[in-house]
């Protein structure tokens, strides 16, 4: 969609075009203060323009670029789209860093609020062009021993996906599928509270020259936007994932409320119910790959991220034991991205085990009362491999 179709005043349109903004996608990655500076208008005007632009962008369906093959997209368009991607932060700058989120502005890290990058969308830089169009698929497996913080990371993602667009977040809702009963509401409340506090501090820091944009979000609102399902058997798990298609279509509202659609599905943990006696292992593999395919289809259709938390088990190799993700190799291979959480000395580390776009790297993080945060040790460093 072009700028000239935006419902803004003629003078604003003229300013945009003379400043070089020709297409909508170029407006998607700029902040309102930068835009105000470039167009020499007030910041409130700039925010208005961006709001209108994002609204129009949301209502269009696909790129109307001409292509030789149906549904294909030129590489240039893909690169452009990539750069305008939004991210969900993990709230730990080191973790965001290795996940390709990048740090937006240096000041943000200094006040402890990490950059606004999506743990799952950052691996989104790799887009899958299929017959249905170039939709991005984010499919991530996170594995670790008990007590390393998988559930904590899951809750943090379900909270952080709700960070509004104004703060560079996705402003989306979350679906949390709990198979183990590890989800504690009081903990989610604690994490939501800390997230709101961080947001208001960020707000106070960045907009100190501008009038206060009050944060009207309460922890209760954040909890309301997490759709929580508790399931007790593998048949329930499969039935739920089949049902999610209907659920997501019903919840796809496009009104201008603060949170519009579901943007992430977290499954904690995807392995628990499958580790019982399955008489037929081949059946288990079939069921698992069917489930993975369904989840991938959901991710594609509704442009959302899927984060699966996995348990680990020991693999008997010759004479020694090795830690491996539960449910076997074929399951590990269905996911395009894998992150392994492990202990290194006294610290928790996350290691990108497999990703089509990111380098293998590990970063330290810690689980605090406020959720997942940067590790505060003095000898931390991000190891690139």
């Amino acid at each position: 969609m072009e700028i000239w179709r935006l419902p803004i005043s003629a003078s604003q349109r003229g300013k945009l075009i003379s400043a070089g903004y020709i297409s909508l996608s170029s407006l998607s990655s700029i902040s309102s203060s930068d835009l105000a500076r470039e167009l020499k208008v007030s910041e409130s005007e700039a925010m208005n323009i961006l709001k209108v632009a994002s609204h129009s962008r949301g209502s269009e369906t696909s790129n109307a670029s001409c292509s030789i093959v149906e549904g294909a997209q030129s590489a240039w368009d893909m690169l452009h789209d990539e750069e305008s991607l939004m991210h969900i932060t993990t709230s730990s700058a080191d973790l965001d860093n290795i996940l390709g989120g990048g740090i937006h502005c240096k000041e943000v890290t200094e006040i402890g609020w990490s950059s606004l990058s999506l743990i799952v969308n950052s691996v989104l830089k790799y887009k899958l062009t299929t017959a249905f169009g170039s939709e991005s698929i984010i499919f991530m497996l996170i594995g670790g021993v008990p007590g390393i913080g998988k559930t904590q990371l899951g809750i943090q993602i379900a909270v952080n996906v709700q960070i509004p667009n104004d703060f560079g977040g996705l402003g989306g809702k979350a679906i949390y599928i709990d198979t183990e009963g590890s989800f504690m509401v009081e903990r989610a409340f604690q994490i939501a509270e800390a997230c709101i506090e961080d947001m208001s501090e960020y707000n106070r820091f960045l907009r100190k020259d501008f009038q206060e944009c009050k944060i009207k979000i309460l922890p209760q609102d954040i909890l309301e936007n997490i759709f929580y399902f508790r399931i007790c058997s593998y048949t329930e798990q499969i039935a739920l994932i089949n049902y999610l298609d209907k659920f997501l279509s019903e919840h796809k509202d496009v009104d201008m409320s603060l949170w519009s659609q579901v943007k992430v599905i977290v499954v904690d943990s995807v392995t628990f119910h499958f580790r019982q006696d399955f008489d037929d292992m081949a059946l288990r593999t079939r069921v698992l790959s069917g489930m993975a395919l369904k989840l991938m289809n959901l991710a594609k259709r509704f442009s959302l991220a899927v984060v699966l938390l996995n348990q680990v088990t020991t693999k008997h190799t010759e004479a020694s034991f090795q830690l491996a993700l539960a449910l076997g190799d074929s399951w590990s291979h269905t996911c395009t991205n894998r992150i392994v959480l492990y202990w290194n000395g006294n610290e928790r580390y996350a290691y990108i085990d497999k990703s089509p776009s990111l380098r293998s790297a590990s970063a330290a993080y810690s689980v605090t009362a406020r959720g997942i945060r940067n590790s505060s040790s003095s000898c931390k460093r991000i190891k690139m491999m």
Binding site: P146, I175, G181, S182, M184, R187, C232, H273, T313, F321
Partner: protein, 295 residues
């Protein structure tokens, strides 16, 4: 299938009977989740189990669950005498909740379990049992003391047998969690420890949770049943027991002298839990029960 509203989901907790321990556990043992207590023998696991079964009968306003409990024990004999002793002190400190001829022991249902298959059998019968109990005092607490005893002897140390053992863990845990969710029960499971021999490498030294390694009685230990069972529980608490030599100043007739006295130091650690930070506290076991000590 509709999502549950998180705002209406309250996690109820069952008090342990001691305010210091309750503070450490953010209220007590949570419902709809499996809490595991790991300790070597003689550390106080059974004491906590008995104490919890009694305190579950307190009304909700006092931190209890207003419920009876199901106590599955695998080690014989069941400590009836100790339960009776605890019951007496429980009655006297909570006299206003219980009429004179009411015996709290009546509301603890004891069942012995012999093997893992026996446990599975019992659990399939537990469903209607708990359903029926709703008419009198509902069962809201299940204690299994201890789960390790069921698995320590029946299985060989071959990969095939270990695999069979693992899948039994998940079966049992899945059934327990389904029960816990259906009737909003608190489940408390106790586990034993095994010694860690050899260097702290490989699977031997696999760190699970907040503590680098667990120490009790001056030796390094790790919970029995391995990584598979660790994946089945929601929270894990560790009780350690150590003999400490403490210097005590004594007034004697020929002036001051000091005695070296051996004292038992007992500590409760949170190894991992989705809602608790890393913490620990000291406790002691008296005739009245198990209580935290504020130092």
């Amino acid at each position: 299938m509709t999502p549950q509203s998180l705002l209406q989901l309250t996690s109820q907790k069952c008090t342990t009977g001691c305010p210091i321990l309750d503070r450490l556990l953010y209220g007590g043992i949570p419902c709809d989740s499996i809490t595991e207590i790991v300790a070597e023998s003689g550390s106080g696991k059974t004491q906590i189990c008995l104490q919890l079964s009694l305190h579950a009968q307190l009304p909700v306003s006092h931190g209890g669950l207003a419920a009876s409990s199901l106590y599955l024990h695998t080690e014989f004999p069941f400590p009836f005498r100790r339960l009776h002793q605890l019951c007496l002190s429980f009655r006297s400190s909570n006299a206003h909740h219980f009429p004179v001829n009411d015996n709290p022991c009546d509301r603890i249902f004891v069942q012995s379990v012999h093997t893992a298959d026996h446990l599975l059998e019992i659990m399939s019968k537990t469903d209607p049992f708990i359903e029926n109990s709703k008419n009198q005092v509902p069962v809201r607490l299940i204690v299994i003391d201890s789960i390790a005893a069921l698995f320590r002897s029946d299985f060989d140390n071959t990969p095939v047998e270990l695999k069979r053992r693992s899948s039994l863990f998940f079966k049992i845990s899945s059934k327990l969690k389904a029960l816990a969710k259906r009737f909003n029960l608190a489940v408390l499971v106790t586990n034993q420890v095994v010694d860690l021999v050899g260097p702290n490498e490989g699977i031997n030294g696999l760190r699970i949770g907040n503590l680098v390694c667990l120490h009790t009685s001056g030796r390094r230990v790790c919970p029995a049943l391995g990584l598979a069972w660790a994946n089945c529980v929601n929270s894990r608490l560790f009780l350690s027991r150590n003999e400490e030599v403490i210097r005590e100043e004594n007034e004697k007739s020929n002036g001051q002298s000091c005695d070296f006295v051996k004292k038992k130091m007992r500590k409760l650690y949170v190894v991992f839990a989705p809602h608790l930070p890393e913490s620990s506290c000291e406790f002691e076991i008296t005739r009245e029960g198990l209580f935290g000590v504020e130092r």
